[in-house]
């Protein structure tokens, strides 16, 4: 028996389950894609709910304006967030001081000076730095960087803000270098060659042409790196210590927001205690900080982008 093509098409269209499949698949895939949205909603709701429970026990004004963080005291536990924020800022500040000059210099070197073959080797090797687990960096900070620092500056304690700050800085170098290099490479070649043809040196091209043109991308990379440094957990809890303090001391033990969450999770603060809820309040604060940074990075790279 011979069938015409038209009959075959009609027959094939008649197959019910195939048509049903074509209708169901998009729905299933949409549900899968909404998991990421549900995750965000889950994070926000979890943090808000548990933080609200926390605020039924500790006043909001104590949390927001208090400068003493003493959660483990039986008699007068105090929950003023500022010592933890200050600890986080200390580490972040040192990390930025280390990473911004090195990261941007490396980006300029790779995009303006290095030959293609050097770039093809150096860039992936730098990215290896980004792939090293933070636990390894923490171990490195504790067992190498701190002792080395102590041999130069005997005042530095075993746990301090400087050593984890430096190592967090090393960790975010590839992020700044790689994102800034991307921004600089996307500056059109003609502009660069025009400047070179007018007799500029490579440094003048980099400093007066490429860097200003790529500024939005460079700033965005730094802001993203700050966000990473604020959220970094293992390095600071291994090498930073667990002493929340409200002072300007970098050489002694500190505690960051992330390190506090780890300290409580390690111990067995029973479910339902004020300490248990406090990690959500701290986590929520941390979430707001990093979220603000990420939104700022997005804003900077969109608003100040130079279009060619």
């Amino acid at each position: 028996m011979r069938q015409s093509v038209q009959e075959m098409i009609a027959q094939s269209k008649g197959k019910k389950n195939k048509q049903v499949l074509e209708k169901i698949i998009p729905v299933i895939l949409f549900l899968i894609a909404s998991v990421s949205v549900l995750t965000t909603i889950g994070i926000v709701l979890t943090l808000i709910f548990e933080t609200v429970t926390f605020f039924t026990r500790v006043s909001i004004s104590e949390f927001l304006f208090g400068t003493t963080w003493l959660p483990f005291s039986n008699k007068d536990a105090q929950f003023g967030i500022w010592p933890l924020i200050l600890g986080t800022l200390k580490v972040t500040a040192i990390a930025i001081v280390v990473a911004v000059p090195i990261g941007i210099s490396a980006a300029i070197y790779l995009s303006e000076y290095a030959s293609e073959s050097v770039r093809r080797v150096v860039k992936p090797v730098l990215e290896v730095l980004a792939g090293i687990p933070t636990i390894v960096y923490g171990f490195f900070a504790l067992t190498f960087v701190t002792p080395v620092l102590q041999s130069f500056f005997p005042d530095i304690k075993i746990f301090n803000a400087i050593s984890p700050g430096i190592v967090v800085g090393i960790m975010i170098i590839p992020m700044i270098a790689s994102l800034s290099e991307d921004a600089m490479s996307s500056v059109p070649k003609q502009i660069r060659e025009g400047a070179l043809a007018m007799g500029s040196t490579k440094f003048e091209v980099a400093w007066k042409i490429t860097v200003p043109a790529a500024m939005s991308g460079i700033v965005a990379s730094v802001v993203l790196a700050v966000s990473r440094a604020i959220g970094e957990t293992m390095i600071v809890s291994m090498a930073g210590g667990s002493t929340p303090r409200f002072d300007g001391d970098f050489a002694g033990s500190i505690q960051t927001m992330t390190a506090y969450i780890v300290q409580v999770s390690k111990g067995d603060a029973g479910y339902g205690t004020t300490i248990y809820y406090s990690i959500y309040a701290v986590g929520f604060t941390l979430f707001l900080f990093t979220m603000a940074m990420n939104l700022l990075a997005g804003y900077v790279s969109k608003r100040f982008r130079e279009e060619y």
Binding site: L129, F140, T233, V262, I279
Partner: protein, 292 residues
């Protein structure tokens, strides 16, 4: 009258050239400094831990005595974790990417999903730990099981896998899609038989890199409440377990100096694990690169 003072020009030019050389040196030095940090880090850990590496180290359980301490429970635990994370994250990640690239219309909902994914990638891992603790460990009562930790890790690396898969799917040439649809294939047939096979190398490379991040992550595991000292192997996804980074964290936070060596040996095992996975990613990338 001369318009150009030759000597003046030469003098200024030399100054500018010197500045150029100085800054070239500084930029190069900064790059070398970053590479040096990597070399010192690897050198330190290998010289510290290599002495403790042995077959016993891989096959012993954790111990109070540093010379007997082994990494078996953590190694097997990490493999179990991967057994949950890999399928969960791949199904969710690739599914989302297919939806966004092939089905989603450009509207507010789609834009919202896209923005949400990039924001999710910026959430600190410790916050994902809090989510896992609340939803999986407590609300769904999974306890500190492989499943609870695996789901938490899957959500953590989900944004990375989605973005990598989207890029892989986007790089499949449009002509292939048009040809398949033109021959009368349905949309789903085209996706399964044409687009996915072409996009698989890119998807796998990105996913393996994301999975290796999940192996090294410590903070979410601590927050979820994964124990450290375990003298048995998990026999299913509902059992409790420990993982490589947890074990390393425990060893390195002990006061005895000997445990530092054990921790360094554990780090070598972890890094070897990561190196293995990354080389697979590189091999896949090289093998399937530039088919079109």
């Amino acid at each position: 009258m001369r318009y150009i003072e030759q000597q003046q020009v030469v003098k200024r030019m030399n100054g500018r050239k010197i500045i150029n050389s100085i800054f070239k040196g500084i930029f190069m030095l900064a790059t070398l400094l970053a590479l040096l940090a990597l070399v010192i880090l690897l050198y330190r850990i290998i010289t510290q831990g290599a002495g403790h590496l042995s077959l016993d180290f891989l096959t012993n359980f954790a111990s109070r005595f540093p010379e007997q301490a082994g990494i078996k429970a953590a190694l097997v635990g990490s493999l179990w974790l991967m057994a949950v994370v890999a399928p969960t994250a791949l199904i969710l990640g690739v599914g989302s990417a297919i939806y966004l690239e092939e089905y989603a219309k450009r509207n507010r909902v789609t834009d919202f999903i896209r923005v949400n994914i990039s924001n999710l990638a910026g959430v600190p891992s410790v916050v994902f730990g809090l989510l896992g603790l609340t939803i999986f460990v407590r609300a769904l009562a999974l306890g500190t099981s492989v499943l609870a930790a695996g789901f938490t890790m899957s959500l953590l690396i989900l944004p990375v896998i989605i973005v990598a898969s989207q890029e892989a799917i986007r790089s499949v040439p449009g002509e292939l899609r048009d040809a398949s649809l033109g021959m009368g294939a349905t949309k789903w047939q085209t996706i399964v038989k044409i687009i996915l096979p072409a996009a698989i190398p890119g998807i796998l490379t990105g996913s393996i890199l994301a999975l290796s991040r999940a192996i090294g992550e410590t903070a979410p595991l601590i927050v979820v409440g994964i124990p450290v000292i375990i003298q048995f192997l998990p026999s299913g996804v509902m059992d409790t377990f420990t993982a490589l980074p947890m074990q390393i964290y425990d060893w390195s936070s002990r006061p005895q100096q000997e445990f530092q060596v054990v921790a360094a040996a554990g780090i070598i095992v972890l890094m070897a694990f990561l190196l293995f996975m990354n080389s697979i990613a590189v091999i896949i990338r090289n093998k399937f690169n530039k088919r079109y």
